[in-house]
Structure formats: structure tokens, C-alpha cells
């Protein structure tokens, strides 16, 4: 019994050795195939980096022009000290992402922020997903909370008309919310962004604000028009910030990918050369030992 087991192990060990040898033989070809494919991947990631660098430069230039629009709209909410109505708990969350991936964690961090909010309370929060990425992430668990989804965004820089179409669609959903927030990636520098929120309020919340009287000659008509406009303006601003941080983070991601591919190429070349040398040495040994056996 014991002997049999001992036999089995030696057979197994031989098999393993044979397999390793076979693999060692085959690797020369397979390594060169792999080397070629990694080189191609590196070329792709490098060119993607160049493309996103150009897009980033444009997005940043446009973002600088848009910043005052967003600041102006934000100031109004801060100066008038508007808060959500306590008796209307309904909230609206607008997720600003895009259709395109390969840009690090920028879409995931927006989605995670929203998921945390929804974990707390998934009855009174509705979500508007801008961009396929956030929709794809939130759809599975919180599909019922999505009321609007926008796509075809991210290929070209967002325009104000995009933002106003979305704002119009939000106003036409007939969803009664007292407060809301726009979740987007705020661009800080080429290498960093942070996921931030912008507040949005309904007409009822604004008219109930305690410090609204610091603004002169307001009537409901004016406030309503202004709120409609400021929703579009805030969405536009958030879209621009999001587009800029997306491009910058894609740039970094692609840079890292090319660097990793470069490391991989180095290692693969080394193993390739080593294997080739081993094959040559083995053949030489075979020839020499064959010759000396004569």
C-alpha cells in the first residue's frame, strides 16, 4: 500500500517535470506572441494618452470660462440661506458622469457617493443619471430610483444646450422635490479631483428661505424663471468640471498603463532572451555529449 503511494508520487513528480519542460520549450513562441501583444497595447494606451491630453487642454480652457457661471448660481443659494423644507423629504440627485470608461475611478467615486446616500434612505431619493457609466453602476441595485438617464455625453465637450435640455427634462418629470444635489468631480489640478456636490432647491424651498428679503424686487415669477435658469447653469458648470477631471484622470490612467506595459515588456524580453539561450545551450550539450559518446 505504502509502496504504491510512493510510486504514485514519483509518477506525479515526473509528470510535473515533463509538463514544465514542455512549457519551457513552448514558451519561446508564446513569449514572443505575448511580447508583441503587450507592445501593441502600449502603443494604444500611449496614443489614448495623447488624445486625452489634447482634449484635457481644451476642457480646462473652457472650464475657466464657465467657472463664473457656476459661482454665480451657487452664491444665490448661500446668500439667501436656503434650506430644504423639513416637511417635504423628497430629494433629487443628479449624477454627472460620462459614457466613456478607462479614466481611473472618477465615475465610480460619483456612483459611490450616491450609493451611500441611497443606502441611508432609498424611499425619498430619486436619481438622474447623466452618462452611461453612472447608470450602469446604479441600475442593478437602485434601478427603481432612477427617473431620468442621459447618454451620448462625453464624446464631445458638453454645451449649454445639452445642459438646458437635461434641465428641461428634469423640470418636466413632475417629481416634487424640496432639495437636491448635483454630484460631480470637481477639478483641482491635472492629477487630482474631488467628488463634490452642488445644492439645488425647489421654488417652495426658496420662497420659504429666511434671508430672501436681501434681494430686492422679487416676485414668484422672477424666482421661478431664475431657478429654472440656475438649474441649467449649475448642470452646465458641473458637466464642464466633470469633463475636465475625466480627461485629466484618463490622461493619468493611460500614462500609468503605458508605464506598466513598458515594465512588462522589459520582463518579457528578459525571459525571452533567457529561454532562447537555454534552448541553445541544451542543443549544444546534446551535440557535444553525442559526439563524445561516439
Amino acid at each position: 500500500m505504502l509502496g504504491r503511494v510512493g510510486n504514485l508520487t514519483t509518477v506525479l513528480a515526473q509528470n510535473v517535470q515533463k509538463q514544465q519542460q514542455q512549457r519551457g520549450m513552448a514558451t519561446l513562441k508564446s513569449i514572443s506572441i505575448r511580447l508583441k501583444s503587450v507592445k501593441n497595447i502600449q502603443k494604444i494606451t500611449q496614443s489614448m494618452k495623447m488624445v486625452s491630453a489634447a482634449k484635457y487642454a481644451r476642457a480646462e480652457r473652457e472650464l475657466r470660462a464657465v467657472k463664473p457661471i457656476g459661482d454665480g448660481a451657487k452664491q444665490f443659494y448661500e446668500k439667501a440661506e436656503i434650506a430644504a423644507l423639513p416637511d417635504v423629504p423628497q430629494k433629487l440627485i443628479i449624477a454627472i458622469t460620462s459614457d466613456r470608461g478607462l479614466c481611473g475611478a472618477c465615475h465610480t467615486s460619483v456612483a459611490r457617493h450616491i450609493r451611500l446616500e441611497l443606502n441611508k434612505d432609498d424611499q425619498n431619493i430619486k436619481v438622474v443619471c447623466v452618462g452611461d457609466k453612472s447608470r450602469a453602476i446604479l441600475q442593478r441595485i437602485y434601478g427603481k430610483n432612477i427617473i431620468l438617464a442621459g447618454n451620448e455625453i462625453g464624446r464631445l465637450p458638453p454645451t449649454f444646450i445639452d445642459a438646458s435640455k437635461l434641465a428641461d427634462a428634469i423640470l418636466n418629470t413632475n417629481y416634487q422635490f424640496s432639495s437636491g444635489e448635483i454630484v460631480y468631480n470637481r477639478f483641482k489640478s491635472v492629477v487630482s479631483y474631488s467628488t463634490t456636490t452642488l445644492p439645488v432647491f425647489s421654488l417652495a424651498s426658496v420662497t420659504a428661505a429666511p434671508k430672501l428679503s436681501i434681494y430686492d424686487s422679487l416676485d414668484d415669477e422672477v424666482i421661478q424663471s431664475y431657478l429654472e435658469f440656475s438649474l441649467a447653469a449649475l448642470i452646465f458648470y458641473a458637466m464642464k468640471e466633470g469633463a475636465c477631471s475625466e480627461q485629466s484622470s484618463r490622461m493619468t490612467a493611460m500614462d500609468n498603463a503605458s508605464k506598466n506595459a513598458g515594465e512588462m515588456i522589459e520582463k518579457l524580453t528578459l525571459t525571452f532572451n533567457r529561454t532562447r539561450q537555454a534552448v541553445i545551450t541544451r542543443e549544444l550539450i546534446e551535440i557535444i555529449s553525442g559526439a563524445s559518446a561516439l
Binding site: I146, L148, G150, R155, F160, I161, S164, K165, Q224
Partner: protein, 63 residues
């Protein structure tokens, strides 16, 4: 109540129409540049119960 609100438009529709008219009134050399900013790419879809329902058509689709 203003006339455009009575006609069922909100301020967003009103201002996009105004902006479109302004773009059309520009001189030809400036108009080409402005037309680039007037493109719409986004497609908005209504969702209910975790399913897309239909694409939302704006009141002024080609604005």
C-alpha cells in the same frame, strides 16, 4: 404672467429660443463659431421601475 409662460414654455425653452435667434442674426463670420456651441449631443431617457421608457423629446428639438 408672461406670454411665453402662458404658452407652456419655461425659462429654459424661452432662453434657448432667444439664443437661437441671436445666433442666426450674427454676421456670417461669427455665426460659424457660434453654431459650434449650439449643438446638442445628449439623449435623455425617462426611467420607471428600473426600466427605460422612452426618449424625452424636447419642446424645441432642433434648438
Amino acid at each position: 404672467m408672461t406670454a411665453w409662460r402662458q404658452a407652456g414654455l419655461n425659462y429654459i425653452n424661452y432662453s434657448t429660443i432667444a439664443a437661437r435667434l441671436l445666433r442666426q442674426a450674427l454676421k456670417p463670420e461669427a455665426r460659424a463659431e457660434a453654431a459650434k456651441r449650439a449643438e446638442v449631443h445628449i439623449k435623455v431617457t425617462k426611467w420607471e421601475n428600473g426600466k427605460p421608457i422612452k426618449t424625452v423629446q424636447g419642446k424645441n428639438e432642433n434648438c
